[in-house]
């Protein structure tokens, strides 16, 4: 029995390695098969003909279409608005259904290693939300495809020609994803113990591998439109499918979306747990959903911490690809949206921190750390205010005259990136500090080197904070631009050092620690409302940044290759975009409420008519709370 368990683990570890290696190794794959791209095939056929010169071959390449305004169907409503809403809804739900199985797999694995069945039950319940969301994702995906083919036929014809059979691979993967997802969810109880559990875990791994492949495939379409590769200046395909997919922005988007999806998924299931916690009728149910909410918040915030760095990489690559595109995003018409982004991220961090501080009331040991909270809150608020300080103000001529220029004499210095880099990094460090004191609050270290370990942790915090402020102020304001940009990496690495060393040090410091009792469910209702704030802010943020990402193409369908000549070929006003983002956010929240209701409904059971009279009135609506 022991031996078979060993083999199960071995096989599973190998599967994990193969999956990971597959993604890393994919960087060197070169797909040249004819069936992958019709255009490439035609080039290869031409090149084998020795009589035809290279110039002739180039002439036979098919350029991107150049549609006129009349080529766009007019259905009486803005085509862009329709596609905007449907695409955004598809992306919201796609993010949710791809992310949930990722942390469900980790939670399930935790359950196997700890032998605590609560983990398994929680993972199963998370999947219940994902399974309903999956159908809605598919429905919006289908609607999006129909809308695109109807409203933008020339663009879709071109993209089909560029990506060729890769689109069919996507469809096959979608079928595979559906099959594995249903087996994974409905086979949960059938494959719960012993070797069967490892089969179930392997299915979870396969589900995530297929899901991640689906995501990166779809990402390649979006990044091709932003930064086309594998095509010439008129859009004719000259590379193979791999060269088309692997554009300069593909991997930054892949990483950014991968991390963001986890944070978003964690926030949405956190709201579900909060809803169930508030509606719980028994102390046991409240404790369970309180714990579930805590886990969800943990996932959301932990995934959120490295997200700004992935975003930074993406923006750096955008600037490297096209400075004009970068300036459009961060220095032109879209720059003000980054102030709104700061407000939303600030909301997320404040809500996440508030939830942790409230949750500290679950254990008496937290009294040791409660004194820190006011200082953490103070730093977060100050940094938040620095982050939302705009570089330029919208002023009347009278106001400019009174101010002595378009920038405030004191606050103007806070409007540029060095100040914001300091603020963001400090907010992340202090959010991690909230995490750390929360996790320490129910433990008492017993190792002999506790004092030295704590001193080192404090020293790392202090020196890292000084380093971040020094790098931001000195290199940001007193040296040249190159050093200003380069020093931001120092700040990022300092923040990561704090997070990694905090996790590692605590793992050793609290080995064999005395655990103080935690009372799950003993938390204020206000903390649960913070869990509702998180997904709403995340959703709005995704809508906002999705709009920015898409708008940087300005009047191009495919940047520099295929012009957008439709009636909507302009960047809409911020007010209009804000309304669209709000509409999609409200729609998503309504759909999520529907999913929660469906998930709740599946646990309810109506009593048979003959039994009603025998049951007290308060218990007549049966089912789990």
């Amino acid at each position: 029995m022991k031996e078979s368990r060993y083999y199960s683990r071995l096989i599973w570890s190998m599967l994990l390695l193969i999956t990971a290696a597959g993604f890393f190794w994919s960087g060197t794959i070169s797909i040249t098969g004819e069936w992958f791209s019709g255009a490439v095939a035609s080039v290869e056929k031409v090149s084998t003909d020795t009589v035809v010169t290279e110039e002739d071959a180039e002439l036979k390449l098919v350029p991107a279409p150049r549609p006129t305004r009349a080529d766009y169907p007019d259905i009486g409503v803005s085509s862009r608005s329709i596609v905007w809403v449907v695409a955004q809804m598809h992306l919201f739900f796609g993010a949710l259904v791809l992310a949930v199985p990722l942390f469900v797999l980790v939670i399930e694995l935790l359950g196997v290693y700890t032998g605590d069945s609560r983990y398994d039950d929680m993972a199963h319940e998370f999947m219940k939300i994902s399974i309903t969301a999956y159908s809605i994702t598919a429905l919006f995906g289908g609607t999006l495809a129909l809308a695109l083919f109807l409203l933008y036929p020339d663009l879709m014809t071109y993209l089909m020609r560029v990506f060729g059979a890769q689109m069919m691979v996507y469809a096959i993967l979608f079928f595979l994803e559906s099959m594995v997802l249903y087996i994974y969810y409905y086979g949960w109880d059938a494959l719960r113990y012993g070797n069967a559990k490892w089969v179930h875990l392997s299915l979870g791994l396969l589900l995530n591998a297929v899901g991640a492949t689906l995501m990166v495939t779809a990402n390649s379409w979006a990044t091709f439109m932003m930064a086309p590769s594998g095509v010439n200046e008129v859009g004719a395909v000259i590379g193979n499918i791999w060269e088309v997919m692997k554009g300069p922005l593909w991997n930054p988007i892949n990483l950014h979306r991968f991390i963001a999806n986890i944070a978003f998924g964690g926030a949405v299931v956190g709201a579900y747990a909060a809803y169930k916690c508030l509606a719980a009728r028994t102390a046991e149910a409240r404790a369970h959903y309180d714990w579930m909410g805590y886990t969800s918040n943990f996932i959301a915030i932990l995934a959120f911490l490295p997200l700004p760095f992935a975003g930074y990489w993406l923006m750096a690559e955008i600037y490297a690809y096209s400075q004009q595109m970068g300036i459009t995003a961060m220095g032109g018409i879209l720059a003000w949206l980054f102030i709104i982004q700061a407000v939303l991220i600030g909301t997320i961090l404040l809500a996440g921190n508030y939830y942790l501080w409230s949750g500290m009331s679950r254990t008496e040991g937290s009294k040791r750390y409660q004194g820190f909270i006011k200082y953490i809150a103070m730093v977060l608020v100050i940094c938040f205010l620095i982050w939302v300080t705009p570089n330029t103000l919208i002023l009347t001529s009278g106001e400019i005259a009174a101010l002595g220029g378009s920038k405030h004499p004191l606050l103007g210095a806070l409007g540029i990136m060095p100040a914001k880099n300091i603020a963001v990094n400090l907010m992340l460090i202090f959010t991690f500090m909230s995490f750390q004191i929360y996790r320490r609050s129910d433990k008492v270290a017993t190792v002999s080197w506790e004092k030295a370990g704590n001193a080192l942790m404090v020293a790392i915090y202090v020196v890292a904070i000084v380093n971040i402020i020094f790098a931001g102020v000195y290199y940001g304001y007193f040296t040249n631009t190159v050093y200003k940009v380069g020093s931001s990496v120092m700040q990022v690495v300092s923040t990561l050092t704090v997070i990694i060393s905090g996790v590692v040090l605590d793992a050793f410091l609290y080995r064999g620690a005395k655990t103080l009792p935690s009372h799950w469910g003993q938390v204020s209702n206000r903390a649960q409302y913070a869990l509702f704030a998180l997904p709403i802010a995340f959703t709005w943020l995704m809508a906002l940044m999705g709009y920015v990402r898409s708008s940087v193409r300005t009047h191009w369908h495919v940047y520099t290759v295929m012009k957008d000549t439709s009636p909507d070929n302009f960047i809409p006003t911020i007010g209009y975009a804000g309304n669209m983002m709000t509409i999609v956010t409200v729609m998503f929240v309504l759909f999520v409420l529907f999913i929660f209701w469906i998930a709740n409904l599946s646990g309810s059971k109506q009593l048979p008519p003959y039994a009603i009279n025998k049951v007290p009135a308060t218990e007549r609506v049966g089912g789990a709370a």
Partner: protein
């Protein structure tokens, strides 16, 4: 016998040396060397 002061001094020395080395490493890795006093070397 290690005193509290010695522990704190050792902790801050380790942290300082680590971040000092890290700053030099990160900047030189990007082709932006810095002098001992952190001023740009280019």
């Amino acid at each position: 016998m290690t005193t509290n002061l010695q522990i704190w001094l050792a902790a801050f020395t380790i942290a300082f040396l680590y971040f000092y080395g890290l700053d030099h490493f990160i900047m030189s890795m990007q082709g932006l060397p810095i002098n001992m006093d952190f001023t740009p070397a280019q």
